[in-house]
């Protein structure tokens, strides 16, 4: 309450200010009168008494000032006055104000955009309940790679592990059911998840309920499907107009009715996302060696990750001895969910971007600091006068700081406006960064902007304020205040610092550019740049088209045959893999003579139809490809390196390989093809086995069509063929090889673009800094230039003099920046592709760019120096 009283008193004295002033006058006058009367009573004359009393009383103004202090309103009033005077100063110096507010706005705006990205992707907590208790439960293959799990293993883990309160499986690949509404069909993104999935993630429905774990009481073979769905907030709004009555309604997916039991919270996201979540019930009829379930678990209360990891390892060892054929050598690994969702390289990219934000902010601060210093030096006379008239140094510093904070606020407002433009642009980029769609200008970004603006204004204001006030304290007599050597050195150091910071950012961007070009230039081993190859993801209903069934085989046989007949189509094939998107299938092979599982080679495999190699332009080096018609025959096509590894020096065609393990099936090798990089451009290629699609007839396949014409014209007719074969299918998404390759490059491109934008801004700020310093120094040296011209200096010598100053600044800054960059380069190394952190070409390029910036920034001041008229210059006072 005392605080409130105090505040009310201050407020009252501020509002009723005139009354307070008059009262104070009366009170002091009364005191003086009483003193005079006392002195007169002691025998002094009225005049003497008055004189003595006034002398004794002291300066009434300073008493009043001290008393006003006691009211606590003085700070407020002075601040208001400072703000008004700052406004006047800014009006009088529009170029300075524009440069300062502009650099701050650009620096803060860019920083805010990058911050909002990093915040959405990395910093913001995951939209799950107690996310630090959620783990990704991996199985680990005998040679140590993380792997998905099988139905029977999950059932055993569930039964035997106490340390996880819930274990949920997610079926892979995620289904993409066709959703029928009002005669139209739409392809949905779905996730097939265990009923306990939402318990693992600690998420409740916003409307209705989620699945009940009790719906999966015990795993059995071929469980009857549970026809319930939980829908996402977005799907609810898009397709049901956010109707709360949707709970309990029946919707049709792949021709089957499903009951909507709940709507998820708006912020819930899971991996690639899902419009609908359907229950996946463990199926014990599936072979224990068939690993295709992603597993997630929630740590039981009171259990640590370490203790549960030990427990799961023990269970895995028990299963290995119980089922040696499928589980021998397999282990487990628990990975915290945040580390699973954001890969190390994504995380690293975000840290680098955060670093760029800091550098950019620092650069803006240094730039404005240098501008403010120059400006304050120009105002030395005014400040000196104020000091002479009795203003305290503290008071001067406060006035200068008020101006800085005002600049900071204006800059932050400008930055906010720029961020408002920038955030939707970055968010709209189609980049596979998790949670990028959550990027927005919210309270957290506002808080960041406000804090950054305030901290920067204190940083850029304090140094000039202290310097200027100290300098001004030197007295009115010293005339060359602005040219004070120390101030000039300080400014030079600041500008060099700017160049150094810009150098660090440019080197970073240069390395990313080098890395990106190396990646972009990588030969994938197939026609990855072709826009004549159209790819169509076809997703059938697993119920009507079971895996490896006659229906499925017939569907794809007919699809390939009919597509080939389309006008303008040269060839058509199907494959399990959407290039650069997955799924990446893994297995083990060895010659049939091999009996030790440990000697089996880990490979990628794809199931493809006959024309696949032809369409993709993967060279067929030996043997032949698969048949598209006739009897269904097994066979394997190997990639070149794998063939050489399994049968060195022998002809692989005609040999037999063993699939999965020593007890797996034997398959005839019928051909050898070139190596490809069809999943990642960067990753060193793993060797590949191709199997006939007619043997491995999966429900979801990718149709690859090579056209004689540009791809776009084929899209509609290809869709027509797909829907003509099954009217329940939704129009499938269509893309091209080149577009897939671009998408694979989207993420490195995002990092490159953001860092390049930051570097561009850094260069502009540094150029402003160099230009400002040179122009200012020249204005101080006009007289000197005049003398030089009068003594016979040629214009080009003056140009050299001024330009040399500029280039020297840039040179030192460049050197310092390169040193700094090399010190911090290791952090960048992890995300670089075929690029060393010390790349001479990049260094040279950055040096050239900065040199150019130095020349550009110096040329106007240098040109002006060359045109100095000695007569005018010498007549000038300063």
């Amino acid at each position: 309450m005392a605080f409130l009283d105090d505040f009310l008193f201050r407020l009252r004295s501020l509002v009723r200010r005139p009354g307070f002033e008059a009262d104070l006058d009366d009170e002091l006058r009364f005191h003086l009168e009483m003193d005079i009367e006392r002195r007169m009573a002691a025998g002094a004359s009225r005049a003497e008494a008055e004189r003595a009393a006034r002398l004794d009383f002291g300066a009434p103004e300073s008493i009043k000032e001290a008393t006003r202090d006691a009211w606590g309103t003085r700070v407020l009033e002075e601040t208001a006055r400072d703000l008004r005077s700052a406004g006047r100063h800014f009006q009088k110096a529009p170029a300075f104000t524009l440069a300062a507010v502009g650099s701050l706005a650009v620096g803060l705006g860019a920083a805010a955009v990058i911050f909002s990205l990093v915040d959405a992707v990395l910093l913001r907590s995951l939209p799950y309940g107690d996310p630090d208790r959620i783990v990704r439960f991996w199985e680990v293959t005998p040679e140590g790679s993380l792997f998905s799990s099988s139905d029977r293993n999950v059932a055993d883990f569930r039964g035997q592990i106490d340390g996880l309160s819930h274990i949920a499986a997610v079926n892979f690949p995620p289904p993409r059911p066709s959703f029928g509404v009002g005669g139209e069909r739409r392809r949905l993104q779905a996730q097939a998840v265990s009923p306990s999935f939402f318990k693992v993630f600690g998420v409740d429905a916003a409307l209705g309920r989620t699945f009940d774990p009790a719906d999966e009481p015990a795993a059995k073979a071929n469980p009857a499907p549970l026809r319930e769905v939980v829908i996402s907030d977005r799907f609810w709004r898009q397709s049901f107009g956010a109707d709360p009555g949707v709970v309990g309604r029946e919707i049709e997916l792949d021709g089957e009715g499903h009951t909507v039991i709940g709507v998820l919270p708006a912020d819930f996201r899971f991996e690639a996302g899902g419009d609908v979540y359907v229950p996946y019930l463990l199926d014990l009829s599936v072979n224990r060696g068939d690993h295709r379930l992603g597993v997630f678990g929630r740590l039981a209360p009171g259990r640590s990750l370490d203790s549960v990891s030990q427990e799961t390892a023990a269970v895995a060892a028990r299963l290995a001895s119980q089922y040696p054929d499928s589980n021998s050598g397999w282990g487990t690994e628990l990975v915290p969910i945040d580390r699973y969702l954001l890969s190390d390289s994504d995380r690293r990219l975000n840290h680098i971007l955060l670093g760029a934000v800091l550098l950019l902010l620092l650069l803006a601060v240094v730039n404005v600091s240098s501008l403010v210093l120059a400006r304050a030096a120009d105002r030395g006379h005014e400040l000196r006068l104020r000091l002479a008239l009795g203003a305290g140094r503290k008071r001067i510093v406060r006035q200068l700081m008020t101006e800085s904070v005002l600049l900071g606020v204006l800059g932050a407002v400008g930055g906010l406006a720029l961020a408002k433009l920038g955030v939707p642009v970055v968010r709209g980029l189609d980049v596979p960064l998790p949670r990028l769609d959550g990027m927005r200008l919210d309270g957290r970004v506002f808080a960041f902007l406000a804090a950054a603006g305030l901290v920067s204004s204190v940083l850029f204001g304090l140094l000039p304020a202290l310097r200027t006030s100290r300098e001004a304290a030197g007295g009115l007599s010293s005339r060359r205040y602005g040219n004070d050597v120390k101030t000039r050195r300080l400014r030079s150091a600041l500008v060099m610092g700017e160049v150094a910071l810009a150098t660090v950012l440019c080197l970073g961007a240069g390395l990313l550019l080098h890395s990106f070009e190396a990646l972009d230039g990588t030969e994938a081993g197939f026609a990855s740049r072709s826009d004549q190859v159209v790819l169509t993801q076809v997703d059938l209903s697993t119920e009507r088209y079971p895996e490896n069934s006659r229906e499925t085989r017939r569907f794809y046989d007919r699809l390939v045959a009919r597509t080939k007949e389309l006008p303008g189509v040269e060839a058509a094939a199907v494959t399990t893999l959407m290039p650069f998107a997955g799924p990446d299938l893994q297995n083990y092979v060895a010659p049939t003579t091999e009996t030790d599982q440990d000697n089996f080679v880990a490979i990628n495999w794809r199931a493809v139809s006959g024309d696949f190699f032809n369409i993709m332009e993967i060279p067929l080096l030996r043997g032949r490809s698969f048949d598209d018609d006739g009897p269904v025959r097994h066979g394997a096509v190997l990639s070149e390196r794998l063939a050489a590894r399994l049968w060195p020096g022998e002809d692989p065609v005609g040999q037999q390989l063993r699939w999965i393990g020593p007890k797996g099936p034997a398959i005839d090798v019928i051909g050898v093809v070139g190596e490809v990089r069809d999943m990642r451009l960067a990753k060193p290629e793993r060797m590949t086995v191709y199997l006939p699609q007619r043997v491995m007839a999966w429900t979801s396949m990718v149709l690859a069509v090579k056209g004689k014409v540009a791809a776009e014209s084929l899209q509609d007719s290809v869709c027509g063929v797909v829907q003509g074969l099954d009217p329940l299918l939704a129009p499938p998404p269509v893309t091209t090889l080149e577009r897939q390759r671009r998408a694979a490059l989207a993420q490195p491109l995002l990092g490159l673009s953001l860092l390049s934008a930051a570097s561009g801004i850094a260069l502009i700020l540094a150029a402003i800094g160099v230009y400002g310093l040179l122009a200012y120094a020249l204005s101080q040296r006009t007289r000197e230039m005049g003398v030089r011209v009068a003594l016979g200096a040629r214009p080009f010598q003056l140009v050299g003099l001024v330009g040399g100053d500029g280039l020297r600044l840039v040179g030192w800054g460049l050197l310092a920046g390169t040193g700094l960059a090399l010190l911090s380069a290791r952090s960048l190394g992890a995300i670089l592709y075929e690029t060393s952190t010390f790349e001479p070409a990049v260094l040279a390029g950055v040096a050239a760019v900065l040199g150019l910036v130095g020349v550009l920034a110096s040329c106007i001041p240098a040109w002006r120096a060359a045109r100095v008229d000695p007569v005018t210059a010498l007549r000038r006072e300063t």
């Binding site: 008193f9 009170e27 002091l28 009364f30 005191h31 002291g58 008493i63 001290a66 006691a70």
Partner: protein, 114 residues
């Protein structure tokens, strides 16, 4: 501001002045002049209160709510601002007095025994 007799008359510390003002007002409401006179007389002219400290102190004490002011007629019938202790001020006076006693006793002890 140069103070007369600076060498012989001790400076009054801020907190001490507050205490003296509160004590002077404990005897009854007074205006500023009367407070300064009272302190001067009671201290046998050892302590003089400068106007430059007195009025800021009075206003500060009023802001804290320890004293309240009202305008009234002085003994020579002039308009004067009178201050009196508030209940909080009375409590504060006890606190401050006790603190001062302890402090001065401690200082005395150090002077005699250290």
């Amino acid at each position: 501001m140069v103070r007369k007799n600076e060498t012989t008359k001790p400076d009054i510390l801020q907190g001490t002045l507050d205490l003296l003002i509160l004590r002077a007002l404990a005897a009854g409401p007074k205006h500023g002049w009367a407070i300064s006179q009272r302190i001067q007389q009671v201290s046998d002219e050892v302590l003089t209160v400068q106007q430059g400290s007195l009025y800021p102190s009075l206003h500060r004490l009023e802001r804290r709510g320890w004293i309240v002011s009202s305008w009234g007629a002085s003994e020579n019938n002039r308009r004067a601002k009178f201050y009196r202790l508030s209940p909080e001020g009375e409590a504060q006076l006890d606190v401050e007095t006790e603190r001062w006693r302890r402090l001065s006793a401690a200082v005395t002890q150090v002077l005699e025994h250290a």
